[in-house]
Amino acid sequence: MSYLEYSVRQIPTGPRKLLYLNWPLVLMITAVASIGFLMLYSVAGGSWTPWAMAQVQRFALGMTLMFIVAMVPIWFWRNTAGLAFVGTLVLLLIVEFLGDVGGGSQRWIDLGFMRLQPSELAKITLVMLLAAYYDWLPREKTSRPFWIVVPLFFIMLPVFLVLRQPDLGTSLLLIMGGGMMMWFAGVHWGYFAAVISSAVGVVFAVFQSRGTDWQLLKNYQYDRIDTFLDPSSNPLGTGYHITQSKIALGSGGWTGRGFMQGTQSRLNFLPEKHTDFIFTTLAEEFGFVGAFSLLLLYGLIVIFCVISAAKTKDRFAQLVSLGIAGTFFLFFAVNMAMVMGLAPVVGVPLPLVSYGGSAMLVLLVAFGIVQSAHVHRAR
């Protein structure tokens, strides 16, 4: 409700839209991003270069984009969802053939002023497409087998291209994000139960068969799975990273070692300390208090998106808000689980905090869509 408006069932127009923005959400996003600036400043040894300043500029650009996106009516985004998705696929194909090789895999398109990572884009456009699809699809058809195969096909297209890069982490996030959209849309829970139980069954069978006559995989494949699941079995590779990461987290204690006092990050014991492992620096320097606060902030962001989704009656707006909130949740949950040694190391950045232009811009645009849904709802 806005303080200037009495009438109900009206959609705000013009500059007044600004008053209807979800300002608490803007505030929290800025807070999380600021934590990111602080940490980037710290891991650079108390310097705005090379990361913190660039991150601030991207955030400013991203915020501008967010406001612009928020001002555009939400139905515009529904109508262009298909176009955005096709555009993303084209970009992924360009990466496939022309992309720069970074970190051992092809992920970027060099635009000159920044490096675009289409797989980041795919996370959001997939959510938009699926939201538009279920908005279009009559409710009673949602759980019919044919109408389930169609969205599965939509999901598998970008997953296949991202896997080719290869980027297992993003592929898994895409699958989980897509699955979440189908869940929100109301696909019969039986499908989910079937998929989950059969997945569990396959995994169980694979591990049970190990060392027996009917072994399903080759031995070296098992070895690879072992290192993936338990990095400490490879202490010089990813195991080293996880060990150092846990040391950094643990040595933070209750209140941390103080800003810029984290020895693990300052002395380079931490890997990727400005990107995927930035959370460990935060936890080391600000302790349990700092780390848990960030977790709470993230939780609040998700909750605000969900509340906003619950208030709208528009199906696309609702689904896209929930989908973006869910994707955002997947981001930070997977990243935190990874650095705390609860999940295998897959390259997933900490949203809004890790250094990285594409992820930052894409996330802020996504929040712009959530804002748009929030603004353009009938009151």
Binding site: F184, G250, Q264, N268, A291, K313, A337, M340, L342
Partner: protein, 649 residues
């Protein structure tokens, strides 16, 4: 732009329900994340804090300065010399080839050294300093420092390294240091972490080895912060090392130098001892070697040359080698007989040049015989038959006991390497070691210091000091540690009848000062410094009956290694004994000709405190002495200039 085509009021209850279920699941996941944070950051925080500290903190040892060694007057013998090194750091150097090329134009740098350095640089991390050159002169260092701008990454720094300014003269006494070897690590039981430092130097022989614990000191530590690749970020704190104790020897450097010069050219040794305190004033052994070679790393060629030298420069002949003491042993046989109460001083024995014992003929050195011989004459003229007779009466066990009482066949505990025990043989020893019965002929041989009897020059000096004082003088090499005087041990009365000792002493005086004495030619005419001595000549070979029939070959005609050892012991001044001296010249021939003059010279040198004046010598000897001193002077001068060069280089 299309308006939403669906009725916004359509029921979205299902989606909301689904969202709530999903929210619950997400909450659960966040709960797990929070619990994990608590587990790591609260419950196991201490453990991880410790691991983080272990990660970042390295403890480095600070090697202590090794204790220095001085002589009795405070003159330095073993010191820690500043050792200038040039090191290079790869990451600071930039173009290594260019920098090394420029360096090679300033200091001499062989192409091999350059290749070596490059290989080492490649192996190490870019920030680790690698030593290019070691032991540079100050001039070179100054030159390098002046050119520092053209030599990025190159620095001159300072370490300490052992140096022996007196060079070869003290090689046997103080030994030398060298880097810790695996052998050392197995031998030494103390787990001092210092020993693990690469190139850490410890004592290998001599005082350096025996006093290692005192000299080494205690390691200090510094805690440094390092990053993940081992680069040092800063020093956190440090505990300084505790320097080793300084040791003062009883040796007098100038006397030692002089003795070494006097012995030069021979395979010989001499020991000079203070008869009251037991202080070893000089322990000479020739030839010798330069211990500095070992500190710097000796070449195989040099080492083999020293090792294969027939004069055995590595051995300290004074304390490590043992010889049949020959006639210098006669005082012991006499004392044993007198103290047993079997003989008195006036009793005479007839010497006809030989004595038959158990069907074997034992000869006196004088074929014609000495006629009637009493104790005084037996020592003065060194009659052998007199002692054959005494020994048969007193028995070997009494002789061995007296020998040990006087310090022969006993290991004297001085801090030098491989101090020999010698041997005062008795019946039990032969039974046990040789598994043979003692035979009467063995006693006869032992009575004149031949056969199984073995003594080091050190032991003979101790014997002489004990004869001079009648007290159990013990040799002492360490005068003080860190300024604290060491105990003087011994000094108790030996319990030998005074009158007997007196006769022995007077006889020894006669050896040096009476016309018939075997040491008369090596006497001094300075009445204040009169000596009491005894010559000795110990056989290296057995003279066969056939050889004797042909006429004994004269020593000079034999090959060097088969000639007799020449020995001499004396104390002086006679009426107020201050020093005891023992000399041995390996394969030098007769004691009176080869050893006694050396004994006389170093006795006078010690008493005068300087090169003795020719007026101390009888006229007949002055020409020879002047000649000897001239040669020594030249030698000392050249050694001096070598040393000055050595300190510069």
């Amino acid at each position: 732009m299309k308006k939403p085509r669906k009725d916004p009021s359509e029921n979205t209850g299902l989606t909301t329900r689904r969202a709530v279920i999903m929210g619950g699941a997400q909450l659960a996941v966040m709960g797990v994340l929070g619990l994990r944070m608590r587990e790591l950051q609260v419950k196991q925080a201490d453990q991880y804090r410790l691991l983080a500290e272990e990660n970042r903190i390295n403890i480095r040892l600070l090697p202590p300065a090794r204790g220095q060694i001085f002589d009795r007057t405070g003159f330095p013998i073993a010191v820690n010399e500043p050792n200038y090194r040039i090191t290079i750091v790869r990451e600071d150097a930039g173009d290594i080839d260019e920098v090394l090329y420029r360096l090679s134009r300033i200091v001499s740098l062989s192409p091999e050294k350059i290749d070596e350095t490059k290989a080492e640089l490649k192996r190490r991390s870019p920030f680790v300093p690698v030593t290019i050159l070691d032991r540079l002169s100050w001039d070179d260092v100054a030159e390098v420092s002046a050119n520092a701008p053209a030599l990025p990454g190159v620095t001159a720094d300072l370490g300490l390294s052992r140096a022996y300014p007196m060079g070869a003269d003290f090689a046997h006494v103080i030994g030398y240091v060298g880097p810790v070897s695996d052998f050392d690590l197995n031998r030494i039981e103390d787990p001092d972490p210092l020993l693990q430092i690469p190139r850490f130097q410890i004592g290998k022989t001599g005082v350096e080895l025996k006093e290692e614990r005192e000299l080494r000191g205690k390691a200090g530590t510094k805690r440094i912060e390092v990053n993940a690749v081992g680069r040092v970020i800063r020093e956190l704190d440090r505990e300084e090392a505790l320097a080793g104790q300084d040791i003062q020897l009883t040796i007098d450097t100038e006397l030692q130098n002089w003795v070494q010069a006097r012995l030069a050219g021979e395979a010989a040794s001499a020991v000079i001892m203070d008869v009251q305190t037991g202080d070893l004033l000089a322990i000479g052994s020739a030839p010798t070697f330069d211990p500095n070679l070992f500190v710097r790393g000796i070449s195989t060629t040099d080492y083999n040359a020293l090792l294969n030298d027939p004069y055995r420069p590595f051995r300290s002949k004074a304390v490590q080698d043992i010889y049949p003491p020959g006639s210098t042993f006669k005082m012991i046989t006499a004392l044993a007989a007198f103290e047993a109460g079997l003989v008195d001083a006036n009793e005479t024995v007839r010497c006809v040049g030989h004595k038959e014992v158990a069907d074997t003929r034992f000869h006196c050195w004088k074929r014609a015989g000495h006629g009637n011989v009493d104790l005084f004459k037996s020592i003065t003229e060194s009659c052998d038959v007199y002692y054959y007779d005494l020994a048969l009466r007193v028995g070997i066990d009494n002789i061995a006991e007296m020998a040990r009482k006087l310090g022969v066949g006993v290991r004297h505990d001085i801090p030098m390497s491989a101090v020999a025990s010698g041997l005062a043989p008795d019946k039990a020893w032969k039974r046990e070691v040789r598994d043979q019965d003692w035979r009467i002929g063995d006693t006869v041989n032992a009575s004149i210091g031949q056969g199984y009897v073995l003594s080091s020059p050190l032991q003979l000096a101790v014997m002489t000091a004990r004869l001079a004082t009648g007290k159990s003088v013990e040799p002492r090499l360490i005068k003080s540690r860190d300024g604290v005087e060491t105990d003087i041990s011994g000094g108790q009365d030996l319990g030998i009848t005074g009158s007997t000792l007196d006769t022995i002493r007077r006889s020894m005086y006669a050896v040096s000062n009476e016309r018939r004495g075997t040491g008369y030619r090596s006497r001094t005419v300075n009445a204040a410094f009169k000596m009491a001595g005894k010559t000795g000549t110990s056989q290296v070979r057995r003279i066969t009956a056939a050889e004797r029939a042909r006429g004994v070959t004269r020593n000079q005609d034999l090959p060097w290694e088969r000639r007799d050892h020449a020995l001499w012991v004396n104390y002086a001044p006679f009426d107020n004994p201050r020093i005891a001296v023992s000399v041995i010249v390996e394969h030098g021939g007769g004691g009176s000709t080869a050893a006694a003059p050396i004994g006389r010279d170093i006795t006078l040198r010690a008493l005068y405190g300087d090169t003795p004046p020719l007026s101390a010598y009888p006229n007949a000897a002055r020409a020879d002495v002047r000649n000897t001193f001239r040669q020594m002077e030249a030698l000392l001068r050249s050694l001096d200039s070598d040393r000055n060069q050595g300190t510069k280089a």
